[in-house]
């Protein structure tokens, strides 16, 4: 489902980041673990098509991201890749429901309010459909971010440091949530983190 080959990226002429090849099956859950500064976020951005590598390729669902033109890449990403960033961001002027609707629309899907409501219900956020994201607690915001990553039933879910700021109990809950959510749509889940507590939870791991 997700393959990388000889991925390389450098921010400036001296430092070149070389990443190990990755090969993930459909529906598999992977942990990409490494210390701060080893380029985890860069790797995540490369995997999500947010950055173009200097060399090497990223292939998702048999599509080479490099081969896609700019707008095709945007659409591919909207439809197939759900990204959960370290810090939750939303369109401030819109409600939770409208944010999710926008995610559907930008991916070229129709706005499906029922599906949005159902998804929010699953994440215990049903009652926040008409609230502005700024009025939610941090935990609630993270769950909305997860909902947004899932709304279009992506092939790949990428999560950037989802547990770094959480205590053990909440860490457990969030990982469980991610695993269940990914399983529901049979998406490939990749969690990129430096959090060693997660080492026990993932069968598939890559050390960066």
């Amino acid at each position: 489902m997700l393959k990388t080959k000889d991925l390389q990226y450098s921010y400036d002429s001296s430092n070149a980041l070389r990443f190990p090849d990755i090969n993930c099956d459909k529906g598999a859950h992977w942990l990409l673990i490494g210390q701060s500064g080893c380029g985890k976020t860069t790797l995540l951005h490369l995997l999500g098509g947010l950055l173009t590598p200097n060399s090497g390729s990223v292939t998702i669902a048999n599509t080479n991201l490099n081969a896609l033109g700019s707008s095709k890449l945007d659409q591919f990403r909207g439809k197939n890749i759900g990204i959960i960033f370290q810090k939750s961001h939303f369109v401030k002027a819109l409600t939770v429901g409208e944010n999710l609707g926008l995610a559907q629309q930008l991916a070229g899907e129709k706005i499906d309010k029922a599906r949005t409501q159902a998804l929010l219900d699953r994440l215990n956020l049903g009652h926040k459909f008409n609230s502005k994201p700024s009025s939610l607690s941090q935990g609630e915001q993270q769950r909305v971010a997860i909902a947004r990553a899932l709304i279009n039933k992506p092939a790949v879910i990428l999560a950037d440091e989802p547990t770094s700021a959480l205590d053990d109990t909440n860490t457990d809950e969030v990982i469980k949530l991610l695993e269940e959510a990914a399983a529901e749509v049979n998406a490939t889940l990749l969690v990129v983190t430096h959090d060693n507590r997660l080492k026990e939870r993932f069968k598939n791991q890559i050390q960066l």
């Binding site: 951005h45 990403r77 926008l102």
Partner: protein, 417 residues
């Protein structure tokens, strides 16, 4: 939701910013609109009343004042001229003059001016009698359409005139005879509508204290005969001015004015020349106001720009996020552009409303003071061009922020926060 709806929601999410931009925009547009409409209607009012009058002869004083008084019925007369002085010009056989209309001003009724003149005045303004007839005997008046409407006067009404041109109930000529309405003119859209017309002799009659009790007077001195021609009246009697139309515009006609000014105690003024002078004076004022208005529009454009530009700082993550969700850079470009344009359009609409309502209020004042009609209900083609200008300003204000949004670097932005 489409881009338009999203733009709108983004705008109202910053209500104070939006209000400021809108208020400034509306102010600028409103001022421009008001000036355009006012200018046009002033011009119209002036033009409508030119009436083909070539020259005005009256007492020495300010030529502009004489014209404003005798032609536009604003301002006070410069004085009087005697029949003796004016006689040559009233001569129907004068080689250069086609029409010479005597005017006597100075009295009014409830703020509307009474003018002593002859029926030739009606021809100048293409005025026709609507009901009743034009005045013939002394003390008979025919009133203009606006007078009839505003004062609720009809044929058969009688009244006493007041001295002076400003409404003052203390100055009614209580001891003089009544004036009687015998006709109402059709509306002409010119100054005639707001006048009360009678013959010269009526004005004299009122001022000579020519009050007599009809029952007691055994001298059978009645006004049932048509009055004499002015040429046959006592030479010491006075009128205010004469409106002249030449037979042709030849050298002699054009020189007549100068020779009157140099060789007599009267003054002659050419409306076209004096009005041009007035126009150039007013022009300076209007130009200054116009410049002020465009400065306001520019500042409002600046406000829109600052508003959008600073909002981009706040919104950089959500713009990057939209790209992650599948939005193309062009979509972000159009989004910001739409925000700017929407402010411009909304500001324009509010501005137009303000401008025209302002004009209506101004029109009310003008009507009370000058009796001329203005209206906020007139819309001009030029105001459509102002819309184009407003859209242009909106576009200019939004274009740099729009490019910035379009060039959002997803990875760099999202790595930072």
């Amino acid at each position: 939701m489409n881009l338009l709806q999203l733009s709108w929601k983004n705008l109202i999410n910053k209500p104070l910013n939006m209000t400021l931009s809108l208020v400034l925009f509306a102010l600028g547009v409103g001022l421009i609109s008001l000036l355009l409409v006012l200018n046009k209607q002033l011009q119209d009012n002036f033009d409508k009343n030119l009436a083909g009058i070539d020259l005005i002869i009256g007492a020495k004083g300010s030529p502009l004042q004489m014209i404003l008084c005798s032609m536009y019925h604003i301002d006070n007369p410069t004085g009087n001229v005697s029949i003796k002085e004016i006689k040559p010009f009233l001569n129907p056989k004068h080689p250069l003059i086609e029409k010479a209309v005597p005017m006597s001003m100075g009295d009014s009724h409830k703020g509307y001016r009474i003018v002593g003149t002859n029926h030739d005045l009606l021809e100048f303004y293409n005025a026709k009698v609507g009901e009743g007839s034009a005045w013939s005997k002394t003390m008979e008046v025919t009133i203009g359409a606006v007078v009839a409407n505003e004062l609720n006067m009809k044929i058969g009404d009688t009244f006493k005139s007041s001295h002076g041109l400003v409404r003052d109930d203390n100055l009614v000529h209580d001891d003089s005879e009544d004036l009687k309405v015998v006709g109402v003119l059709q509306p002409t859209g010119s100054v005639i509508d707001q006048l009360i017309l009678t013959n010269t002799q009526s004005i004299w009659a009122v001022h000579e204290g020519h009050a007599h009790d009809m029952e007691n007077d055994s001298l059978a001195h009645n006004h049932s005969d048509a009055p004499k021609s002015l040429l046959e009246e006592d030479e010491t009697k006075e009128i205010t001015s004469v409106l002249i139309k030449f037979k042709g515009h030849n050298y002699q006609a054009l020189n007549m004015g100068r020779s009157i000014n140099e060789n007599t105690d009267m003054q002659a003024a050419t409306p076209a020349i004096e009005l041009n002078r007035l126009h150039s004076q007013m022009d300076i004022g209007t130009k200054a106001l116009n410049m002020l208005a465009w400065i306001i529009v520019f500042v409002s454009g600046l406000s829109v720009f600052i508003s959008l530009f600073s909002s981009l700082k706040d919104r950089k993550y959500e713009l990057a996020l939209m790209r992650v969700m599948g939005a193309t850079p062009e979509k972000l470009f159009i989004l910001i552009l739409l925000e700017g344009l929407m402010l411009a359009v909304l500001g324009y609409i509010i501005g137009m409303a303000m401008g025209h309502i302002g004009m209506e209020i101004l029109a009310g004042h003008m009507r009370d003071t000058y009796r001329y009609s203005f209206s906020g209900k007139e819309f001009l083609t030029e105001e459509f061009y102002v819309l184009i200008g407003a859209l242009g300003v909106g576009l200019l204000a939004a274009i740099i922020p729009a490019f910035q949004a379009r060039n959002t670097d997803i990875s760099e932005t999202l790595s930072k926060g």
